[in-house]
Symmetry: C2
């Protein structure tokens, strides 16, 4: 982040016609975005573009989700038809919706709004070895970067991460454990709704995936961020990590959705730590690993309403809040300009 | 609330293409608004109209705020010129802004966007007796009702409460104590930024106001809601209570801003308990009494970002979230219609 723009944004906030600090956490959002953009006020982060990266997971075979794998491709059809919650929220905030197949287990019919960057029909089962090869991880990272660049070229001034992939909270839990050193029992959650028995199995699956891939215990740090991502990530995680890198490289803010994005951002930060300056945590999901990931990234979520849907829904909800935070810097009068008396010292 | 519409909204939510309950607290918002509107899906709560009720407070003489009283009228000028944070947030969410003078200590020049419903040049000092007469309270309640009706007649489908009045967190604290039975030390906060010494004085002032007006101890319940409001409320509190009554009477949702609105809603609920069904708590402010008021009303705040500005800013920020919650009920496909497989039982 640019220190000059950060300082200027802080000083600017203190001249505005409001008590100092009265906008709470929104003041820090505006200051961070000024630092990231290297200018105060930062550009208005609108319009927004949502990219939903969709893929399947070999680990689904381990019985970690009550949802059949074909729901991934069915929900992609729902996104393209405009019938999902993400579509409704995108319409609410004026965001475009792009769906990117980075590794769905089925082949899709070409459709408007669908981009194809498929490298495999789902990842390999991470409890048996790496979920993907390093080459696959790089290819999908590059797809994520390219999608970010395309959307910005088309006019987006804010990127919102979205995901679809049955079983992807399992991969997210494994990534969060690998990058933060937390135990699977602390990080693994019920995803879209698993019972106690399935949750216990899911925790054991995450533990096994970490062990098989050499990511448990003190040896974990021997693996690079890329190797870690390839070992226990999903294709949508790799794509979102690239999407974050792409947005950051263009100084366009990226609103992270939930636990999938949070775990992907850990990978992106492992590759290039400064990208976190360009990220805003849209919300905190009900998944326990998400708070762990956000704390590690040093990000405070804006919306805390126990959403656990994914798709980018929590990121979209945060977009008007981010816009409001930045709009203050563009439009609000100062004490001097408005002739308002300041508080007594 | 209408039981049929409530039940229908709950059943509707469970058919939508998302895991049950995956929208967290937003599902309850949509269900409550269906119950309040007596129809599912409830009408889209847009466009929104913000009414900022402004007034001064006799208790300011007790040294409860570091801000001079003339800041009330100066900020009204700022609202009318479009330079305040409330204006920026209203622009962000497409809300109109109306300012209503219900008792500013100064006389204002007529201006577009300014309505005048002034009953006095500020309230009387509540530490010496009632802040206003019952007649004044009724007159200002009626102004609030009339403003709500006017805004809805002009097309508003959601009302947002706003306030301006130096020292009005002191009156809010007194109202919250009177309506909930909590102690002033638990409820009184730093408002827009008072030091430890002023906070201690403010708590003592609230305690004295309650005692002088017969609102401390077991005798409190002898006073009616109207008498309580008149004893320790501000004119903006009375106006907001009326605004809530007016919105509820038209089945138009009212988004409550912060502690001033929360304390005014206690008075409105004291007059007509069912009005709470039509209220949405926009945010939870940093003021400790606000959480007490919301718990008493049974409302969960949507935004929790430590705002402590007032003006309606927290209510405006919540508006897109409320719209998103309702839009889901209008636009999202069901499992059947989208051909998406449901979770295994």
């Amino acid at each position: 982040a640019d220190p000059g723009a950060l300082a200027e944004a802080r000083a600017h906030h203190d001249r505005l016609t409001k008590p100092r600090g009265a906008l709470g956490a929104l003041e820090e959002v505006a200051v961070r975005l000024a630092g990231a953009a290297a200018v105060n006020p930062p550009p208005m982060p609108a319009p927004a573009a949502l990219a939903i990266f969709a893929a399947d997971h070999g680990v689904h075979a381990q019985g970690v989700s009550p949802w059949p794998q074909e729901v991934t491709v069915q929900m992609v059809g729902n996104f393209l038809a405009g019938g999902a919650v993400a579509n409704a929220f995108a319409a609410q905030v004026g965001a475009s919706v792009t769906v990117v197949d980075v590794g769905i287990a089925a082949d899709l019919v070409p459709a408007p709004g669908l981009m194809v960057g498929k490298v495999a029909h789902g990842t390999a089962d991470m409890t048996l070895g790496p979920a993907m090869t390093a080459e696959q991880a790089v290819a999908v990272l590059e797809t994520g970067i390219a999608v970010a660049r395309d959307l910005v070229a088309q006019g987006a001034r804010c990127l919102v991460t979205g995901d679809m992939g049955i079983a992807n909270t399992t991969a997210s839990a494994a990534l969060i454990c690998a990058f933060t050193g937390q135990d699977p029992a602390e990080v693994t959650g019920r995803g879209t709704g698993v019972d106690d028995e399935t949750l216990a199995r899911k925790i054991e699956v995450v533990r096994r995936a970490l062990r098989v891939n050499g990511l448990d215990g003190p040896g974990a740090s021997a693996l690079s961020a890329l190797e870690t991502l390839a070992a226990v990530g999903g294709f949508e995680h790799a794509a979102i990590a690239g999407f974050v890198l792409g947005g950051a490289s263009l100084r366009v803010p990226v609103i992270l959705d939930g636990v999938i994005a949070g775990s992907a951002a850990l990978a992106a930060a492992g590759l290039a730590p400064d990208v976190v300056d360009h990220c805003v945590a849209g919300h905190r999901s009900a998944e326990p690993g998400h708070a762990v990931a956000l704390a590690h990234l040093g990000l405070r979520p804006l919306v805390e309403l126990e959403l656990r849907l994914g798709e980018g829904t929590g990121g979209l909800l945060a977009h008007p809040l981010v816009c409001a935070a930045v709009r203050v810097m563009h439009e609000v009068a100062t004490f001097d300009s408005a002739g308002v008396t300041e508080k007594e010292a």
